[in-house]
Subunit: 350 residues, 4 copies
C-alpha cells in the first residue's frame, strides 16, 4: 500500500535486465555507445520525428531546467501553471539554468492552464519595453501535477497562443506516458503536432531507475543542449546505463504498458474511494494519481495499517472528528497491485 | 585492449548485483532509503570521520562543481593546476555552479602543483583590493590527470599554503582509490588529516556505473550542499540505485581491490613499454594511467589490431617515419586483464 | 505640465553647483575622495546610524539589485509586493544579481503589502524542504509604486513577520524622502528602528542627477557589497561626482525640502482633480504621485495642450465617449510649479 | 604632480558646462532625450558608421562586461591578454555578465597580444568537443594597460585570426582616444575597418565625469544590449547627463584634443626620465602612460614632495640603496601641465 509517489516504485525487471546486459565489456562513453543509437532510433520512431535530437539525463529537474535554458533567455518570462513542478518543486533550478529567467504564474483549474489567463498574462508582458522581462516561453505539464491530462487539442490551443506571441513551448512530460495512456493520442499528436518544441520525456516515475529523454523536435538547438548538459554536470561518462534503460523502455511497448497499469490502478482506487460514504474527488482522476477526500476515520485506519501517502495539503491535522473530510494524494505506478488497492479501500471504507 | 579511458570499463558484477537487490519493493526517495544510511556509515568509517556529511551524485563534474560552489564565492579565485579536470574537461561547470568564479592556473610538473607557484600566485591575488577577484579556494586532483599521485605530505604542504591564506581546500578524487592504492595512505591521512575540507570521492571510473560521493568533513556546509544539489538537478528521486552502488563499493574493500588491480595493470604496461626499443615515459606511472612514447610503427600495429587509446596530444600524425616516437595515454581499470596488457605489449614491441 | 515621471525633472541647481565645485583639481578615485567622507558622515547623521556602511551607486535598479544580492541566496524567495519596482520594472535585475532568486509576489491594496498575505505566503515556503526555494528576504517599497506610504508602525509589523521567519528586510526607498515628508517620521524611525536591515536611499527621483545611497545598517555585509558593486560595474572611478550630489542632498535639508515640494504639488493636484465632475482617486494621494480618474474629455484637452503623463494602465483608448472615466498617473517633483498644476487643472476641468 | 591615474583628473570645463546646460527643464528619460540623438549622430559620424548602435553607460567595467556578454555565450572562451583590464581589474565582472565564460589568457610583450600565441591558443580550444569551453570571442585593449598602442594593421591581424575561427572581436577602448592620437589612424580604421565588432569607447579617463559609449558596428545585437544594460542596472533614468558629456566630448574635437595633450605630457615625461642617469623605460611610451625605472633616490625625493604615482609592481620597497632602480607607472591626462612634468623631472633627477 505505497501511494506516496511513483518515484518510490522499483524499476521494472526488464530494465534491470537491460542494464545487466549493457554491462558486458567495454563501451564508448558519453553517449557514443551503440545502445544509445538504438534508443535514439526508438525515440524518433515513437514520436514519428526522424530529425529530432534526443538526449538522456537522469533526473526530471535536469531535463526541465536544461530545456528551459535552451528555449528562454535570462531576461525572459517562462509562463507556467502556478502548481507546475518547475515552479514548486525544483528549488529554483529553472532560474539557475536559465541565468535568472522569471517564472510567471498562470492560473487554471485542476492544474491545467486557462487559455484566457495565459493570453491575458502574455499580453501584459513587456508592456514597458526594456524595463520588463520579455516574452520568453511556455511550459506545460502533461499529465499535470493534479493528475489531470491535457488533450492534444488543449495543448495546441495553448501552444498556439505562445506561437502567436512568437515564443516556443516546452512540455514537462515526467508523466508523459500516463497522459498518452489516458488520452489514446499518439506521442506525435501530443507533442510536435500540437506545437510542442521540446519535450521532457519521463521514464523515472514510470518504471525506470532514473532516465529522462529530452526530445528537441527542432534539432537546431542540439549543440547548445549538449553544451548545457555537460556544463550542468549531466553528461554521463558511462552513458550506456542510461541508454539501456531508455532502450528497454521503448521495446515492445513497455513504457505504455507500465503507464496503463498505473492509470488502471488509479482508476480502480478512485472508483473505490467514491463508494466510501462522504468521499469525493478533489480533482478528476485522469492519469495515475488520485486526489480525493474521505473521512478522517478512514485515514487513521489506513495509516495505522502502514499505508504510505500524503495528506494534500500537508497541513491537515490527523486529530479531529472521525467524520471530517481530509484530502489526500495517492499515486499509483506500474507496480501497484489490485490487492494493494483493494486492501487500502477496505481500510478506508471500514 | 581497451585503454581509452577507465570510464569505458563495465561496472563490477557486485555492483550490478547490489542494484538488482536494491530494486526489491518500494523505497523512500531522495536519499531517505535505508541503503543510503548504510552507505553513509561506510563512508564515514572509511574516512574515520563520524561527523562528515556525505552526499551522492552521479557524475564527477557534478561532484566537483557543487563542491566548488559551496567553498568559493562568485568573486573568488579557484586555484587549480593548469591541467586539472575542472579547468580542462568540464565545459565551464565550475564557473556555472559558482556563479562565475575565476579558475587561476598553477603550474607544476606531471600535473602536480608546485608549492612555490601556488604561494606566489596566491600572493598576487587581490593586490588591488576590490578591483580583483579575491582569494577563494584551492582544489587538488589526486590521482592527477597525468597519472601521478600526491602523498599526504604533499597534500598537506599545499593545503597548508591555502590555510595560511585563509581559504579552504577541495580534492578532486575521481581517481581517489588509485591514489590510496598507490600510496598506501589511509583515506583519512590523504584527506582531512592533510587539510582537505571537501572531497569528491570517485566511483564511476573505478568500477561503479555512475556514482561519486561528496564528503564534507566540516558538515556546516551540508544544507547548502543539499540545496545546490537539488537546484542543479542532481538529487535523484530513485536514490536507492546510487546508494546501492556506493554501499557495494565500500563492502569488503571492493573499492581498493579494484583500484589495486587497475594500478597493477598500469605498472605491468608501463614496465613492458619501457622494454620497447626507444620507448620512454612522459610522466611517471604511479596510478592507473600510463603516459609514454614509443615508435610510430608500434602504434600502427596496435591500432590495426584494434587497441583503443588516445595519442596524447591528439594532434600527432599517424603518417610519418616508423621509428619516430609518438606519445600516448593508456588508462587501465579494474577490468584490464594481464592478457590484454601482454597482447598490447607484443604488438607495440613487434 | 510634465507629470510623466519624477525622473524627467532637472537636478536642483545646488546639485549642479556642488558638482562644479567638486571638479576642481585631482581627487582620489573609487570613493576615496574627501567629499565621500563628508557625504557618508551626513548619511550616518541623518539616520542616527554611526556604524552604518554607506555606498553610492547611480541607479535605483543597481541599488536594489545589489542590496537583494547581499541579503538573499540564489535559492531564496524574495517576498515583494506584486507591483514592486523590483518585480515589474527592472527587467529581472534582481534575478540576475542574486543568481536566480525567486520573487514571490504578495498582494495588498494600494501597493502596500498585506501582513496576512505575507505571513501566509512565508508559511507556505519550503514546506517540501530541499525541493522548494527557501525563505530568503522581504523587500518593501516606501513610498510605494501607487503613491501611498507605509508608516513606521506598518513597516515594523511587516519586518516583524520577516524577523520571526529568520529573514532580513530591505526597503526600496527610491522615493524615501517623499515617505519621510509624508509621515513626519525620522529616517531612523522609518528604517532600522522599524526593522529595516538595508535601505536603497533614493536621490535621482528627488532632484539629483543620478545617485542612490545604499545604507547597510548592519555593516557586516559591507565588504561583500563592495565586491558585488565592483563586479556589477557600479563602482565609479571618478566617484567625487556621486559624492558631491549626495553631500549637497543632505546639506541644509535640501532632500526633505525637495520632497515636501513634490508632495505639496501632488496634494494640490489631487485636491484639484477631485473637484472635476465625475473624477475620483484610484489610490489615496500620500506622497508625490496622483493616481486618479477623470472624464476622457479632460484628458483630451490636457494632452492637446502638451501635458505629459501616462494613462494607467497604458491600454485605455483615447477615442470614446467624452464623459467616460480614464485613469492616469501624475507624478510631481521638486520642480513642479503651482502654475503648472493649476493650468493642468484648468484644462481637465474645462 | 598627480600621475596616479587618469581617472583622478577633473572633467574638462566644457563637460561641466554641457551638463549645466542639459539641466534646463524637463527631459524624457532613459536615452530618449534630444541630446542623446545628437550624441549618437556624432558617434556615428566620428566612426563613419551610420548604422551603428550606440549606447552610453557610466563605467568602463560596465561597457566591457556588457559587450562581452553580448558577444560570448556562457560556455565560451574570451581570449584576452594576460594583463587586460577585463582579467585583472574588474573583480570578475566579465564572468558575472557572461554567465561564467572563461577568460583565456594570451601572452605578448608590452601588453600586446602575440598573433602566434593567439592562434595557438585558439587552436587548442574545444579540442575535446563538448567537454571543453568553446571558442567564444577576442578582446583587445587599445591603448593597452602598458601604455602601448596597436596599429590598425596589428588589430586587423588579430581580429583576422578570430574571424578565421568564426568568433567576433571587441575592443576595450577605455583609452581609445589616446590610441587614435598616437597613431593618427581614423576611428573607423582602428575599429570596424580593422575587424572590430563592438567597441567600448572610453570617455571617463579622458576628461569626462563618467561616460563610456558602447558602439555596436553590427546593430543586430542592439536590443539584446539594451536588455542586458537595463538588467545590469546601467540604464540611467536621467540619461541626459550622460548624453551631454558624450555630446561635448565629440564637439569640436575635444576628445582628441584632450588625448593629444595627455600623450604629449607623457612623451615629455618619458623623454625627461631617460635623461636621468641610470633610468630606462620598462615599456615604450606610446600613449598617455609612462612605465619607467629610475634610481630609488629620485623616487624618494618625488614622493616627499608629494608626487602621486604607483610603483609598478606595488611590492618594491622604498627602503634600500639610493641608486637601485625602482620601476613605476606614471599616467598623464588632459589636465597634466608642463610645469607639473618639469617639476617632477627636476625632483627625480636631483
Amino acid at each position: 500500500m505505497f501511494f506516496a509517489s511513483d518515484n518510490s516504485s522499483p524499476a521494472h525487471p526488464k530494465v534491470i535486465e537491460a542494464i545487466t546486459q549493457a554491462n558486458a565489456g567495454y563501451a564508448m562513453p558519453y553517449g557514443n555507445d551503440p545502445i544509445m543509437e538504438s534508443a535514439r532510433a526508438k525515440v524518433r520512431e515513437t514520436f514519428e520525428a526522424p530529425e529530432a535530437a534526443v538526449y538522456l539525463v537522469a533526473t526530471g529537474t535536469a531535463a526541465n531546467a536544461l530545456s528551459l535554458a535552451c528555449l528562454c533567455p535570462p531576461w525572459g518570462a517562462v509562463y507556467c501553471h502556478r502548481n507546475a513542478h518547475v515552479e514548486e518543486d525544483e528549488c529554483g533550478a529553472p532560474e539557475f539554468y536559465t541565468g535568472g529567467a522569471k517564472l510567471v504564474l498562470i492560473d487554471g483549474k485542476d492544474a491545467k492552464m486557462s487559455p484566457e489567463a495565459l493570453e491575458r498574462t502574455i499580453g501584459f508582458t513587456a508592456r514597458a519595453g526594456v524595463h520588463n522581462v520579455q516574452k520568453g516561453m511556455l511550459t506545460l505539464t502533461n499529465a499535470t501535477e493534479a493528475g489531470t491530462v491535457y488533450t492534444p487539442a488543449e495543448v495546441a490551443a495553448l501552444s498556439g497562443i505562445a506561437k502567436k506571441a512568437g515564443i516556443p513551448t516546452h512540455m514537462d512530460g515526467a508523466r508523459f506516458a500516463n497522459a498518452i495512456a489516458a488520452t489514446g493520442a499518439s506521442p506525435a499528436e501530443m507533442t510536435w503536432k500540437a506545437g510542442i518544441d521540446v519535450l521532457s520525456f519521463g521514464g523515472t516515475k514510470n518504471g525506470l531507475m532514473g532516465v529522462e529523454a529530452v526530445v528537441l523536435f527542432n534539432p537546431e538547438l542540439a549543440w547548445e543542449f549538449e553544451l548545457r548538459r555537460k556544463r550542468g554536470g549531466h553528461l554521463f561518462s558511462k552513458h550506456r546505463y542510461l541508454s539501456a534503460q531508455m532502450d528497454a523502455y521503448l521495446t515492445d511497448g513497455l513504457w505504455l504498458e507500465m503507464a496503463q497499469a498505473a492509470n488502471s490502478a488509479a482508476a480502480r482506487l478512485s472508483e473505490g474511494i467514491l463508494k466510501v460514504p462522504g468521499a469525493k474527488l478533489v480533482h478528476p482522476t485522469e492519469a495515475n494519481a488520485v486526489f480525493a477526500a474521505w473521512p478522517r476515520g478512514g485515514h487513521r485506519k489506513a495509516q495505522e495499517a502502514g499505508a504510505a501517502y500524503y495528506l494534500w495539503p500537508f497541513s491537515q491535522p490527523m486529530e479531529g472528528p472521525a467524520d471530517e473530510l481530509l484530502s489526500a494524494r495517492l499515486v499509483c505506478s506500474w507496480s501497484t497491485t489490485d490487492a494493494d488497492v483493494d486492501r487500502f479501500l477496505d481500510l478506508i471504507s471500514g
